[in-house]
């Protein structure tokens, strides 16, 4: 009996109180504009140009991507401005790619805008970041007739693939991790527009919060190998080891790296053992008709080792001179250092670091032809 009364009372309360509830503003899915890519261009210290690309799924839309550009000083106030222009509510749940132009990377505060996105719970951690030559807005607004839309194109281009394994595929987490970590300098892929195509031209290396220099894909490959990536891009080498000019192309299958430091901050020495395994996919040069025996292959391996040691050593020396450490070599010293580690220590250390590279190549096959 008591239960019945309770039921009736609660039912009545529920019905009557329903009138008191506030009308909740929920945006239906059709009215949501999901930002897929963002671009930041540098104007001056306080101003930047923000461009967002929103894919249009309506079949009637002639263009498949809607873009908005705005000049603003803060990211979020720019978004508010864009919302005023847009017929939809702007959300970031589907954000995939963030582009910054080179000027921005060199002079602007990239860390601030990425940190803003990192803070935003809507944004996933897998948003890819890239530096763009000249104008980032032009890339989002460009025409790519053979691609379904700029969003897919950019995302696929920057995603990890074996042929662009030199590309660090930096996402928001990686960026925040490396820019806040005193032992590593941030690296970002560098994209250039050429007519109707986009191309990853190389890798931008940061020193502290700003872009420092641009390096070539071959060099970026070294950084990736040294920071421990297992699968690398095909390696192209010019040998000059007493057999005239030779060109070798090795499809890398696996690489592993081991670093040993002398743990001494005053006269730091680092030995890097790099093991690579690969297939000899192409060879051009004097030895072309001798490469059938195990001995000749192992001779070639030795030459490749020497060449690589020389190349990597030279490259690292160049980096060390400018005191940047994109491969995180100073981590080997931080591991044994008691007390706080600072960026200043990294710079000092990397400046006087003596690197010794040992490469061990093994060519496991030369294809199926004998």
């Amino acid at each position: 009996m008591k239960h019945k009364q309770l039921c009736i009372i609660s039912f009545l309360i529920l019905v009557l109180l329903a009138g008191c509830s506030k009308k909740e503003i929920k945006v239906p899915l059709e009215d949501v504009g999901m930002v897929d890519s963002m671009a930041f261009d540098y104007i001056d210290e306080n101003q930047m140009r923000l461009t967002v690309a929103i894919p249009q799924y309506s079949p009637d839309a002639e263009k498949d991507t809607q873009t908005f550009s705005i000049t603003t000083d803060l990211v979020s106030s720019g978004i508010v401005e864009i919302e005023k222009q847009s017929d939809k509510k702007i959300v970031f749940n589907q954000l995939r790619v963030v582009l910054v132009n080179e000027d921005f990377a060199r002079k602007g505060n990239v860390r601030k805008i990425i940190q803003h996105l990192y803070r935003n719970a809507e944004v996933g951690n897998k948003v890819l970041i890239a530096v763009v030559k000249d104008n980032a807005e032009a890339i989002l607004k460009g025409d790519y007739p053979d691609k379904p839309s700029i969003n897919f194109y950019l995302n696929n281009l920057l995603e990890p693939s074996i042929n662009t394994a030199f590309n660090p595929n930096t996402n928001i987490h990686d960026f925040m991790y490396s820019i806040t970590n005193p032992v590593i300098d941030t690296v970002l892929p560098y994209v250039e527009k050429r007519g109707e195509k986009l191309e990853i031209k190389g890798v931008a290396i940061f020193k502290g919060n700003h872009m420092h220099e641009l390096i070539k894909p071959e060099e970026a490959l070294v950084i990736q190998a040294l920071s421990g990536r297992k699968n690398l891009a095909p390696l192209h080498l010019d040998l000059n080891a007493g057999h005239g000019e030779e060109k070798v192309m090795i499809d890398l299958i696996e690489s592993s790296v081991k670093k040993e430091s002398n743990k001494n901050m005053e006269s730091p020495k680092l030995t890097i053992f790099l093991k690579i395994k690969g297939t000899l996919s192409e060879y051009k040069g004097e030895r072309e008709y001798q490469l059938f025996t195990v001995e000749s292959i192992s001779d070639l391996e030795k030459d490749v080792n020497k060449q690589l040691e020389q190349d990597i050593g030279g490259f690292l020396e160049r980096l060390n001179k400018t005191e940047v450490d994109p491969a995180g070599l100073s981590e080997e010293f931080r591991m044994y250092h008691h007390g706080k580690w600072t960026t200043k220590k990294t710079r000092e250390l990397i400046g006087k670091l003596d690197v010794n590279v040992r490469v061990e190549t093994s060519i496991i096959s030369t294809g199926t032809l004998k």
Binding site: H173, T180, Y336
Partner: protein
């Protein structure tokens, strides 16, 4: 007064009660709480485990002297009626505020990550309804709920897999790289996360095999400690020191590292499953608070106290004070929690002094 009508908790109940109450919101922000020690925080949870085991020993020893009484009764017996009652009231308030703190913390998390455009009133109400339902089933119902929670939520550990892959084990070195101050700060901030095992002081009378209660509780504690250890270890590998310090719910960000092609935000799965963990710890605290009220009023078999407690919790969560005041209040209740952990040691001293007068 005989406070136990029947002993209902078997050994599995004891294990998972100890285990599940400990894992609340604490573990979500544990790496951040310990971040004053930077990378060296990895092994702090193990130290916490040792401290917990020692204090647990004191608790169980005390309980075994009064096998049919909970802490509320013990306070009255050992400290005298009025002082005991006063302490009991303090404990009840502490439990209520503490529960409100846990719920509020979780709702804050929900609001900042999952439901940004919604007020939390309705979720809190639903949560409290569930809470009342579980608590009114008694301690056995809570224990069963804790077991269920453990087996449902333990699977989320899988989501940390990508973070392990990406992480850098060299962060574990160098060992013991901290100053005493940093250590103290981490100890103070971090130990909240593993509070919860002290509730054995209240459900001890219901345990069937009281002789082995220590061992079973210990198993539960070390399961939790192990989970905390994994959490901090993975966070240390995956984050930079700055991130450890600044990412508020670092564990959810670990989930975010996930790479499923069909799910974008794995962290949302984590958060929603977490409600079970929150429920299991809060229910236990509320149950204890209700028992306290029962002993104070000497009334039994009535549930209206429970509704009142739930209402008070609701008020505390929705109270119109500044967030700063709320934070301070919850902090204070956390420190009271520390007192409760050491309280049994104090009672043991009194027991030894007044042994003859209080012999049961």
């Amino acid at each position: 007064m005989n406070t136990t009508n029947g002993k209902v908790l078997n050994r599995y109940h004891v294990i998972f009660l100890a285990q599940s109450i400990m894992i609340g919101t604490g573990i979500l922000s544990l790496p951040q709480k310990l971040s004053s020690m930077g990378y060296t925080q990895t092994f702090m949870p193990l130290l916490f485990g040792v401290i917990a085991s020692l204090t647990l020993f004191a608790m169980v020893w005390l309980c075994s002297k009064f096998p049919n009484d909970d802490l509320f009764r013990m306070n009255e017996i050992l400290l005298g009626k009025w002082l005991g009652k006063f302490i009991n009231i303090l404990i009840i308030i502490q439990f209520i505020v503490f529960s409100a703190g846990i719920i509020s913390n979780y709702m804050h998390l929900i609001q900042s990550t999952a439901l940004q455009e919604q007020t939390i009133t309705l979720p809190v109400l639903c949560f409290l309804l569930l809470l009342i339902y579980i608590v009114s089933g008694g301690i056995k119902s809570i224990a069963r709920f804790c077991m269920m929670t453990f087996f449902i939520t333990i699977g989320v550990i899988y989501f940390t897999r990508w973070a392990i892959e990406k992480g850098d084990p060299s962060h574990f070195l160098p060992l013991f790289n901290f100053t005493p101050n940093e250590f103290y700060e981490a100890l103070k901030q971090g130990y909240f996360s593993i509070l919860g095992y002290e509730l054995i002081l209240f459900y001890f009378p219901y345990i069937i095999d009281q002789k082995k209660a220590f061992r079973h509780s210990l198993i539960g504690i070390w399961i939790s400690i192990f989970l905390c250890f994994i959490t901090t270890a993975i966070s240390v590998m995956y984050y930079s020191e700055w991130q450890l310090k600044n990412v508020e719910f670092s564990v959810l960000n670990l989930f975010k590292a996930g790479e499923f092609t069909f799910i974008e935000r794995i962290d949302i799965i984590g958060i929603t499953l977490w409600v079970l963990l929150i429920l299991s710890s809060v229910t236990a605290y509320v149950w204890c608070a209700k028992r306290g009220v029962d002993t104070l009023l000497k009334k039994k078999k009535q549930n209206y106290q429970l509704y009142i407690i739930a209402f008070i919790i609701f008020i505390i969560i929705k109270m119109p004070f500044s967030r700063e005041f709320q934070e301070k209040l919850f902090m204070a209740s956390n420190y009271m929690g520390y007192l409760l952990v050491i309280w049994p040691v104090f009672l043991i001293l009194i027991y030894i002094i007044r042994k003859k007068q209080v012999q049961v």
